[in-house]
């Protein structure tokens, strides 16, 4: 499958060169001249990158951009974890501390986690996996990256000129009236990025519906596709509500139009409702794609069909739909009606059902498998453990009586980091390692990668487990001055964060190293199933020289012990 013909057409024609470009774009890879033509070496010009409509190149652009934002958000975290080592305000003043955690939240959520898997791995892999030559709307795809960059750079710019201190939740009336920081500019940044997310979701949905290869019917699709489809539903149905809410805050602040202003009889809780209508499902935008990655990895490294394929597939859709019905569990002590709270409580608890299905099925997929403990599997198994803890502690928060005590404490901080970092980021790193040979044509150094996977797991737990204890003790979030009896636990957490920080630097280093020195990857280094492994590594610009014909279910490993499905 290394047929290079047909991929020789440059995606760009003759337009004037772009004046500027993000740093580091051309450092991606420079394969030797003798390489067969692929999507990376087909054209080295700046223009060919900045005007590309190739979904794989756009995925790479996203990869570089979100790594940049991850480093920024991570630096903020390192800074405030240092501050939190002592119970007093010694390293930073309160203004600075508040801006740091806001920056961490805004950057990590809107500019790293939400685009992470869908925009990098999803962009790269969805067309490959369904057997298409590109996303349904290649130009919109590129536009989405530009919107993302405009939003992201606006956010970075606001941080450079003074920052914003509202927290990533922008609660009114603090954000609309009282804060003296750059709320407007940040709101605009988030608003713009929202449209980038909408366009990505739209593209994935239409691609899955209309561009599947012949024979690729719904129950032959890899679970990666199912979970991206579910996440895309949330992106298109939830994100617009965030956009209009942020817009209302912005016009309230900027134009003096009162929407949530309590002085007019407006209701600040209404803002919270609208905000969480998006922002709770947004958690599933982060975690659902990760579910998809984990399904792929576990199947490939146990050489088994995924246990209960249909249940896992429908669980993704179930989570996406249920996720829209539970936003009020962020507001149990907000002054929301107690009866509404009870409805939101039981609906939130029910999310345990599809989540449990996934965890049980992944674990069962190991049964009678042929397990190879390479780095992606290490990340995937770590994911299952951390997601289990994160999910079960979510039940605590869905229970009204416990949530009254732990709401807005470090307990909730620990919980959502178990989901977002222990879940989404572990999945992202696992997926990045798994598909790295496909994306770059190079193999990463396995020993270093395993070491860093273990370090991430250990560092993560050391950072966030003490926060569960702190939270139940009652330490409120967004506090940097705290009672001295909680110092030990905070120091433990900061120590863990330093391990985690170093562990994250490892992959950044050796993955870049591998671009030049890593061994060449074959088309299918893991001997995995899936259309993406049937094209060369890296693929050619148009993916498939001949449209593939799909005749088998996903994960049809010839020696799979698990057969059939529970239907």
């Amino acid at each position: 499958m290394s047929d290079p013909h047909g991929a020789t057409v440059s995606p760009s024609t003759s337009t004037s060169p772009q004046p500027s470009s993000p740093p580091g774009v051309v450092t991606v890879t420079r394969p030797a001249v003798r390489d067969p033509v692929n999507y990376l070496n087909v054209d080295y010009s700046w223009k060919s990158w900045l005007l590309t409509v190739d979904h794989k190149r756009i995925g790479i652009l996203y990869l570089l951009s979100i790594t940049f934002f991850f480093v920024i958000g991570g630096a903020a975290a390192v800074a405030f974890r240092l501050e939190l080592m002592t119970p007093k305000a010694d390293l930073f003043e309160s203004e600075t501390y508040n801006k740091l955690f806001t920056m961490h939240g805004v950057v990590m959520i809107f500019f790293f986690l939400i685009p992470s898997i869908p925009a990098v791995l999803g962009n790269f892999l969805v067309p490959l996996m369904v057997g298409a030559r590109d996303m349904a709307f290649p130009k919109l795809n590129l536009a989405s990256w530009y919107l993302f960059m405009i939003g992201g750079l606006t956010a970075v710019w606001t941080m450079l000129i003074g920052g914003v201190d509202t927290g990533w939740t922008f609660y009114t009336p603090y954000s609309s009236t009282y804060s003296n920081t750059y709320v407007m500019a940040t709101a605009v940044a988030v608003f713009i990025t929202g449209f980038s997310s909408i366009l990505t979701g739209l593209n994935i949905i239409v691609t899955v519906h209309k561009l599947r290869a012949p024979g690729m019917h719904w129950f032959r699709m890899p679970l990666f596709i199912w979970s991206h489809y579910a996440a895309s539903l949330i992106m298109i149905l939830g994100t617009p509500v965030l956009a209009v809410t942020i817009l209302l805050v912005a016009i309230e602040r900027g134009l003096g139009i009162g929407i949530f202003d309590p002085k007019l009889g407006g209701d600040p809780i209404l803002f919270q409702h609208l905000f969480w209508f998006y922002s709770h499902p947004a958690v599933y935008i982060m975690i659902l794609p990760s579910f998809g990655v984990i399904s792929e990895i576990i199947a490939a490294f146990s050489r088994n069909r995924v246990f209960g394929y249909r249940f896992v597939a429908f669980a993704s859709l179930g989570i996406a739909v249920l996720g829209f019905l539970v936003w009020g569990h962020h507001m149990f002590v907000s002054g929301q009606s107690a009866y509404a709270g009870m409805v939101f409580s039981i609906l939130s608890l029910l999310i345990a059902v599809p989540s449990a299905i996934k965890v049980f099925n992944w674990t069962a997929t190991l049964y009678r498998g042929r397990l190879r403990f390479d780095t992606p599997l290490l990340y995937a198994l770590g994911f299952i453990g951390l997601f289990t803890i994160g999910g079960l502690t979510g039940l605590f928060l869905a229970l009204l009586a416990i949530d009254v005590h732990v709401h807005d404490t470090y307990f909730i901080v620990a919980h959502f980091h178990y989901i977002m970092v222990g879940g989404a980021v572990m999945g992202y790193l696992g997926g990045l390692h798994y598909w790295w040979p496909k994306m770059t044509g190079r193999l990463y150094p396995e020993g270093w990668a395993r070491l860093s996977a273990i370090l991430v797991f250990v560092g993560f737990n050391l950072t966030f487990f003490p926060q569960f204890v702190l939270g139940y003790l009652g330490m409120p979030r967004r506090y940097h001055i705290y009672p001295p009896e909680w110092q030990t636990l905070n120091v433990m957490s900061s120590a863990g964060a330093s391990i985690l920080g170093v562990a994250y630097l490892f992959p950044i280093t050796y993955l870049i190293w591998s671009l030049k020195f890593g061994p060449r990857a074959s088309a299918n280094p893991w001997d995995a199933t899936g259309l993406e492994w049937q094209v060369p590594s890296p693929p050619t610009t148009h993916n498939f020289a001949v449209t593939p014909h799909v005749t088998e279910d996903a994960y049809a490993y010839p020696d799979s012990a698990l057969v059939g499905d529970a239907h």
């Binding site: 057997g131 519906h209 209309k210 561009l211 599947r212 290869a213 012949p214 024979g215 690729m216 019917h217 149905l237 509500v241 809780i269 209404l270 409702h273 209508f277 829209f324 019905l325 936003w327 009020g328 929301q336 009606s337 107690a338 009866y339 509404a340 409805v343 449209t547």
Partner: protein, 106 residues
């Protein structure tokens, strides 16, 4: 190459656009506009809003079905249209669930 594209009705025949239908729909819309304005002058109490929304929904239905050709569209487009409307209902019902049950003492 999609598995889902077969056996769908072709969009309305482009060679013979239903001009007459469009004009008829247009007249209906104008009549409904007059009706909704008129209804606003009748005191119906809380029913005013219901009447206004029903008329607006009929108008929207006429536009969506005929001008936007949903009538001749694949079922998937129906699902998208209905689904987005359903999601809006979820948002509004969820919000009202809080507001109508807010009461003192609890």
């Amino acid at each position: 190459m999609s598995a889902a594209t077969t056996n769908l009705p072709a969009p309305h025949d482009p060679a013979h656009p239903p001009i007459g239908l469009y004009l008829r729909i247009y007249v209906y819309l104008l009549v409904l506009l007059a009706v909704t304005v008129g209804a606003a002058y009748v005191h119906l109490g809380p029913l005013n809003i219901v009447v206004a929304l029903v008329i607006a929904s009929i108008k929207a239905w006429l536009v969506v079905m005929n001008f936007m050709h949903l009538r001749d569209s694949p079922r998937l487009n129906w699902i998208v249209a209905a689904g987005s409307f359903l999601w809006l209902v979820i948002l509004i019902v969820g919000l009202l669930m809080d507001y109508v049950t807010r009461s003192p003492g609890v």
